[in-house]
Symmetry: C2
DNA sequence: CTGAATCCCTGCCGATACTG
DNA sequence: CAGTATCGGCAGGGATTCAG
């Protein structure tokens, strides 16, 4: 297939800004993937999409996640503007993690990832991805 | 925000299948991220979204991409059912790489990634991701 | 022209132990 | 309760070289 589907709206891959020839951090796709990158990252985001969570609640929801990595992920997500920390100066010390509006807007992105993965691994996926545990 | 937006269609994070507590390869989100994973992967897909390409054409389009990684990516994408190899028994030997229907259906996924990244890094992104070259 | 094989280096992730 | 410090294993990715 050398022709292009006609009439589709401007967007990838036709957007001229998509003409980068190397994986630059300025590419919007790379930006999003960088935010989502790292083991456990999407699961932490999913948990926070369900509502605010304390550190302990996150740990309880993801038991196999070590303190170090959870801490790393929360720092990472805070740096990228997806998550906000809210320290409550009470006793016992309680810290709430919440998604920023930007973080909430990741919902549709995760949905798109879910939809493709569900379809590609579905019952009639002759050409779908193999189940090779490639890991993310 | 402890309440949930009312009336939105069933989907992440409310889908019961999204209740995994560890990054399992069976999770549709992980499947998609695994397919997209790796430096240069999305750029190779983008190039093929624009049309069929030979090995040399891909190399020309992505000059900074080494043979090893290009080869690796093409194998990876072929294994995951996104790309197909078409060997032409002529001389000089020419091999065409094309996207499968599954591969083409990655278009909307990349678009979603693009849209979020563009918005989050846009002009009014007070809470957007920092430009820290986290790399993907 | 189209790749595969090798080498090395870097950075992620996990386990464990310790602090405000 | 909510993290940080340190260490080590392992896999990903780049450069180079060789083969069909």
């Amino acid at each position: 297939m050398t022709h292009r589907t006609v009439g589709h709206p401007p967007g990838l891959p036709d957007d001229p800004r998509a003409d980068v020839t190397a994986p630059t951090p300025e590419c919007p796709v790379e930006i999003t993937l960088a935010v989502l990158q790292g083991r456990w990252t999407t699961l932490v985001i999913r948990e926070l999409l369900r509502g605010d969570r304390s550190y302990g609640e996150l740990r309880a929801a993801l038991p196999a996640l070590s303190d170090k990595v959870l801490s790393d992920r929360l720092v990472q997500l805070t740096r990228t503007g997806v998550v906000e920390r809210h320290r409550h100066p009470a006793w016992p010390p309680r810290v709430l993690y919440t998604l920023t509006p930007t973080g909430h807007s990741l919902g549709p992105v995760l949905q798109a990832l879910w939809d493709w993965g569900a379809r590609a691994s579905g019952p009639d996926s002759a050409t779908g991805p193999s189940r090779t545990p490639t890991r993310v």
